[in-house]
Structure formats: C-alpha cells, structure tokens
C-alpha cells in the first residue's frame, strides 16, 4: 500500500487562463481573473464580481470540440482533462488500465436552470435535451467518452472538497492495483443556482475578495476545471518526460459541526491536515507552502486559521489562497489548486495572496503577498473544505533529482 503515486501531467482552465501556461503566467504576474460578470445570465450581474472563464459557450464549443448545447461544466472539464492527459505524454495509454475520476457539484445545472424557466410555467414545456445531462455523473461520462477512457469512470460530490476526494480516490485505485493511470480532479461551471444559493447564505463579497484578511467580507465565486494525471510507479518509469511530483499524503475527515458552517476550532480541517502529514511521514515543519482553502468568508478563514495555528505553531510555512485569483470554483477548486500545488513543489513557486492588507488579530501568521521562488521547497499542502463538514488535505512532494 505504500507504493508511491506520481503526478505525470496537469491541466487547468480557470478565470485566469485557458490552460496551465496562461494560469501560471497570471499567478506569476499577480493578475486576478475576477471581474464584472459577463457570460452568465443573471439578475445579479452588477452586484457580485466573479471569476468566469473568459470564453463564451460558443468559444468553449470550439476549444473543447463538443457539439453545441453541452453543459459548460462538461466543456470546461474536457479542456482541462485533455490537457492533463496530453501533458503526461503516455505513449501506450490505450493498453493501460485507465480511469477518469471527476468531481463536480452542479452537473448540467447551467442547462437545467434554463429548462426550468419554461418547465416551471408548464410541465410539458422546456427542451429535454437541456436536462438529459443534468446528473453530475453524466458530465463525467461525456468527457470520459471523448478521452477514450473506459475502465473506470466515477464522479464524487462532496461540495467544495469534491475534487480533493476525487484525487485521493484516483490515487487509491492505483495503489490498490485496480488502475495504472487516472485523470483525477474536478469541474464546475458558474450557474444561477450556485450564485443565488451562496447569496442566500450571505457570504458573497460585492467587492474583490480578501482571503485571510482581518477585514474580509466573503467570497467571489469562480468556475473552471483542474486535473492531474496520476500514474503508478511502473508507468512513471516508462515515461520520457519529467514527473511533476509525488502525491505523498492525503486525508479525508469530517468536521461534524454544522451542515454549512465550519467549527470554531476547525477540528475537521485539523484532522485532515494532520492525517495527510501522518500518511506522508512528515512533520509540520517539513511543509514549505500551504495552498489554503482560504475562501475569504469570516467563518472559513477563522476555522482554517485556527487549525493551522494549532498544528504548525511556532513554525508557520509560507501560505496563500489562490482563490484571490480564481475565485472559489467549488467542486473544481481542489483540482485547480492541485495543479497549482504540483507546479509549486516542482519549481519552488510561492503564489501571492492578492489584496491582503491586515493580519487577522487571533492568528500569528500572515499570507504571502508577492510571487517568489523558493529553492528548498520540498512539500506542499493543499486544503479543501466544504459543506457537510467534508474536509480533505493533499500533500505534494518534490522528487529527488
């Protein structure tokens, strides 16, 4: 069970870029993807800034190769998953036992909510083709069919920690010798359903979000998809290109405090981080960078910060929330941040936490505010916490040269 699992490829699309190179360029240059809402048709257009992928559905059709009318969730997924697969450069892919483990929380909701405006007035109205791919699992199947993956197709939905659990599950399918290679991560398109849902919870920021700032006001929603190509040791040895890193540790725990709110002491976050460290055989001081869940809500940042304080004091690693760039992409966030974390540990990148001004009084640390390169970065921790108390942490470790 201790056989390592490697990250051999990455792929991402988000508000800051349509591929890994574009996203990395934005991270290096402090360019946020948050802006006035442009593509989603909603009554809240002028109220809440969001990090939309900067492509219309027609442009995404062209980029993804899907026929028109497919859910935006699936189109985003295919763009990023295909990049992750191609990036891994696996020559004999079709001869391997392959899996596509993709998380999402909205499925084809972008189409369903269009259907509903007519259906709600008349149950015989509304085009059925707009609800045929409503289920979360359907989105995964559409993309798997395009990628030619057949052996194992699975979808996980645990709110905002969804794609961290997809990556864990993918790694475990390799460790248990069920699969050789897994494209794992997640996708979510921005929808009226989620925008209005988060609005009822009153945790959306009407300005650009400020994660881990004492004066933070809430989160900005985003959209996108992010995947890592996980491979077994045997497949890794057969690859010509360099590997990004290993997935050294992971843990899934539950806060068991409230359906949506996190506990004040962050017990779930603490257990997830501690469990991932234990699995990786690391001490807190070994972690060089934490990619925070850092949504920018009062509740999350307090809870996550308290858990980090308890686990890491007095040696705090560098940390930042890249949601200050991408917004909170929900079911995609851990996939997108896994890509950022893999690049971080491979190349020593530390990303800035944009718009940070004032340290939270109860926390003895502050996030990074500038991009930097750290030559001695060995281990990166990525946190993802969600509704239902679902807390998951992943640890990406540098490979010895």
């Amino acid at each position: 069970m201790s056989a390592p699992v490697y990250v051999a490829g990455v792929g991402v699309i988000s508000g800051i870029g349509n591929n890994t190179a574009e996203c990395l360029n934005a991270l290096q240059n402090g360019r946020a993807g948050i802006d006035k809402l442009k593509y989603l048709d909603t009554a809240h257009k002028d109220t809440f800034p969001v990090a939309e992928v900067k492509l219309s559905n027609d442009e995404l059709v062209a980029l993804s190769g899907f026929k028109p009318g497919i859910s935006r969730t699936a189109m985003l997924s295919l763009v990023a998953a295909r990049e992750a697969l191609n990036n891994a450069g696996i020559e004999d892919f079709s001869s391997l036992r392959s899996g596509f483990i993709s998380a999402n929380t909205v499925g084809g909701m972008d189409k369903t909510e269009d259907f509903f405006t007519q259906f709600n007035a008349n149950p015989q109205a509304g085009r059925l083709r707009n609800v045929v791919n409503h289920e979360c699992g359907k989105v995964t199947e559409l993309v798997a069919d395009e990628l030619g993956i057949k052996n194992y197709i699975s979808t996980i939905s645990t709110a905002c920690s969804s794609s961290a659990n997809a990556i864990m599950y993918g790694a475990r399918l390799i460790k248990n010798n069920i699969l050789d290679v897994v494209i794992a991560g997640g996708t979510d398109a921005l929808t009226r359903f989620t925008l209005n849902g988060f609005n009822t919870l009153m945790i959306l920021d009407t300005e650009y979000c400020q994660p881990f700032d004492a004066n933070r006001r809430g989160l900005n929603l985003g959209e996108g998809a992010g995947y890592v190509t996980l491979v077994s040791e045997r497949v890794a040895a057969s690859l010509k290109g360099p590997l990004y890193c290993s997935l050294g540790g992971y843990c899934n725990a539950n806060d068991a405090y409230h359906q949506t709110a996190s506990s004040p002491d962050g017990i779930g976050s603490f257990m997830a981080m501690e469990g991932a460290l234990k699995m990786a055989g690391l001490n807190p001081a070994d972690i060089g960078y934490i990619n925070l869940h850092g949504t920018g809500t009062q509740n999350n940042d307090n809870s996550e910060g308290t858990a980090i304080k308890r686990l890491f004091e007095p040696h705090f690693p560098k940390m930042s929330s890249t949601k200050s760039f991408t917004g909170h992409t929900l079911g995609a966030s851990a996939g997108i941040e896994a890509v950022f974390s893999a690049l971080s540990v491979q190349q020593g990148f530390i990303y800035p936490n944009l718009r940070f001004e004032t340290q939270i009084a109860d926390l003895p640390f502050r996030p990074e505010t500038a991009f930097s390169t750290q030559p001695n970065l060995k281990h990166v921790l990525s946190n993802s916490f969600g509704f239902g108390g679902n807390c998951s942490s992943l640890i990406f470790s540098k490979l010895e040269a």
Binding site: G137, S157, N390
Partner: protein
C-alpha cells in the same frame, strides 16, 4: 467484507422487523413510492422538521443499520446517489424561476448538495472520520462499496457504513416520464415482467449496510467482491466480464452460484441482455428479479444487495423442499446500458 447489518426503506415493507416478503406490496401506476416509517421514533423531532423526504429516508435507514449492528461510531460513512437531494434542488430552482432570483431562502440550497445525507449522519452521531459521496449515475452505490473495500484493505477502517439512496419527486417523475422511461396506462408492479412493452416503473429507496473486514460471528452474509464495467460492446462482452469476475474470485464459475439476482426492469429493450444470459451463461441457475419490488432507479442495486442478504440461507427453489440452501449469490444489474455491475455474496 462481512455484512453485519442492514437498514432499508423501500416501496416494500423492508424496514424494521417486518417479515419480508410476507406479502409483496402492490403499487398501481408507474411510480413506486417508499413505505416510510414513523421517523419520530428514529430521529430527533426538532431535526425532522427541516429534513426533506430523502434526507429522512437516508438518515433513518442509516441509523437503523448502525443500531442493528451495535456500532455507535463507524470508521467511515460513504453514500452513493445519482440524483442527490432532488426535492430541495427542485424547490430552489422553482423559486428562483418564480421570484426572478430575489427573496430566496437558504434551506433548500443548503440541503440540495449531494453529500447532505452522509453529512447529516456524521453530524448526528458526531463522526469525524472518512466521509465520501459518489454520484456516478448507475454505479454510484457500487463505487461507494469499492471505496469501502479499499479502505478495509488499506487498514484505514474496520467498520464502514455504506448506503445507496435516490428519491422520486413530482418534478423528476414528470421529466423522466417525458423521456419515455416509464410505462403508460394502467400498470402494476406485480405484473411488471408480463407486459412486454416499452418502459419501466419508477422506484426509489435508501438501503444502508454496515461492512466490516472482521467476522462478528453473527454476520448476515459476506460480500466477496463488487465490480463495475462501462458501456460494454455487446452481450458477449458482458458474458465474458461476468466469467472473468467469477474466475478472479477464487476461480469460481456459474456452477458455484446458487442464485442469480438480475436487474430486469420490464422494458423490452432494457431486458434483452438478461433474457440472453438466462439462455446462455445463467442457463442452469436459478434466477430471480427484484425491480417489481422496488422499481427502477440508479441505486436500485443497493436494494438488490439487501434482497440477496435476505435470501441467503433460504431454499434455492422454494417450490421444492429438498433443494440445498443458498450459499452463493451473484447480482447482475445495469442502468440504461451505461454502468453495469456485479456483486458476489456468500453465506457466512
């Protein structure tokens, strides 16, 4: 994996100590709703008020399963649900359409997330351990089982609560009906397999299982293996998948199987593969169907697993008193010819 206990709310009298199948409950029409228990005896009434129907079904069957096993805190909670909490989703969507995205309230949004049932169970019993939810369409429950199997093998858990849950709502029934999934006109579940027409009958349910890697000496059955396969090429491909599955589990063949439970749903096209297998691979085996009991839905295989546990140890053929007891059961189901699944059980 040893199955220590079950909790099953379904369109039959499967919950509690009812002697199933004392009598099969007849449902007229193409929608089989669950027979629900008095939740007040199972869940704190203050909490019940906020829960939608599927959350109540899920939580009550999960709690009953834990109670029956005498386990207060499992080491993991894993659910499979294709649709999640449809009622809450529908309420929020309807209100959004009616009110032009204004004056909405959070409750239905909060409870619409697919992990709500697993989360509510964790919350009720204060379980901080592994918690996961699969939404893989017709393989949701099987992927939850496979997750549990891996956790047990990894030594990460000893007792795991696994459930498959899906509901019918008025909205989902109308929409899925418009897709032509269900039989039209007068129809009874008791005659589901006699019509020879297009369409099935809608079902729903919540079945939970307490799984352990150690025998408790009083387990109900042993789940030897579970597997899924995706969009098979043809019937021969399905046949070879089944043979390979059995061979991989101790070199078994169909001669070692006492009973096969198949997922026929009454739709002529859907059931072709089952008829094919009954005349080929399953030719010399006793075959029983289950969807006349629970209807068709993506996680109905959870009901099938419960049914298998129930039948284990009974006479293989009730018509003849001399038949050997059922020792090994194979469950084969597919959902809309996309996800196919196999489960193998043996007597303890």
């Amino acid at each position: 994996m040893y199955i220590r206990s079950t909790g099953n709310i379904s369109p039959q009298k499967t919950f509690g100590n009812a002697a199933f199948p004392g009598e099969v409950v007849a449902h007229e029409g193409n929608r089989l709703n669950c027979i629900t228990p008095d939740y007040k005896e199972l869940i704190d009434p203050k909490l019940i008020r906020r829960m939608s129907r599927v959350i109540k079904m899920g939580v009550a069957s999960a709690m009953a399963c834990l109670n029956q096993a005498g386990v207060t805190l499992p080491d993991a909670i894993i659910t499979g649900t294709a649709y999640g909490c449809l009622e809450d989703t529908g309420v929020f969507l309807s209100k959004m359409a009616e009110r032009g995205e204004e004056m909405l309230t959070p409750t239905s949004f909060i409870q619409s997330t697919h992990n709500t049932i697993a989360a509510q169970v964790a919350l009720l019993i204060g379980c901080h351990e592994y918690n996961n939810t699969f939404v893989s369409g017709g393989a949701s429950f099987e992927h939850a089982l496979l997750d549990a199997q891996m956790l047990l093998q990894e030594g990460e858990a000893k007792n795991i609560l696994v459930g498959g849950v899906d509901e019918i709502t008025d909205i989902s029934h109308i929409i899925l009906g418009r897709f032509g999934l269900y039989k039209q006109g007068p129809v009874s579940n008791l005659h589901l397999f006699n019509y020879g027409t297009k369409g099935t009958i809608a079902g729903e349910g919540s079945a939970f299982f307490l799984l352990s890697n150690e025998s408790s000496e009083k387990d109900l059955a042993k789940l030897e293996a579970v597997t899924t396969f995706y969009k098979p090429k043809d019937f021969a491909d399905i046949e070879s998948q089944i043979e390979a599955f059995l061979a991989a589990n101790g070199g078994l063949s169909m001669y070692d199987i006492s009973l096969v439970i198949t997922g026929d749903n009454g739709d002529v096209k859907n059931d072709e593969v089952y008829h094919y297998l009954e005349n080929s691979l399953f030719n010399y085996c006793n075959v029983v169907k289950y969807k006349h009991l629970c209807g068709e839905y993506p996680t109905s295989s959870a009901f099938a697993l419960w049914y298998a546990v129930h039948l284990m140890g009974q006479n293989a053929d009730p018509a003849t008193a001399h038949t050997a007891k059922i020792k090994r059961i194979l469950i084969y189901n597919h959902y809309q010819n996309t996800h196919h699944s196999l489960m193998l059980l043996s007597a303890c």
